[in-house]
Subunit: 80 residues, 2 copies
């Protein structure tokens, strides 16, 4: 069994209104000097295999098909 | 200027219907043997400071006040 974490973030240049809203909220809470806030997603999952290479390949396919919208998002995979 | 990443995940025991839905969707796409899917959030931000200790302290305060709901979520902070 392999634990993995997939992190999906917006590509550079893609507008992130949610990040902007968080930046504004942080500012109004008194946190000054915070810039470039971008929000992404993280998926933690467990795979029924002990073959790390196979797991990585399968995770990549999951990202391409479901977890990330590769037009506007990047993903990174890390195995525990 | 310090770049930081804050990762917010659901605490163990907190139900994650979104994660369950993703697990189901992966299954119906033919990805078998995927379990314990949990979705979290990630925030990338830049701080106008070069004092890493102060940055970490400030990020902790941001998590407590805005970025995470500490009743049901854990957070972790990493500085680039």
């Amino acid at each position: 069994m392999i634990k993995a974490r997939v992190t999906v973030t917006l590509k550079n240049g893609v507008l992130d209104p949610q990040g902007k809203a968080i930046e504004g909220a942080l500012g109004s809470l008194g946190f000054d000097g915070v810039h470039q806030v971008r929000q992404g997603k993280v998926f933690d999952l467990e795979l029924d295999t002990s073959d790390r290479a196979k797991a990585e390949e399968e995770l990549k396919a999951m990202c391409e098909k479901l977890l990330a919208n590769t037009v506007i998002e990047n993903y990174s995979i890390s195995l525990a």
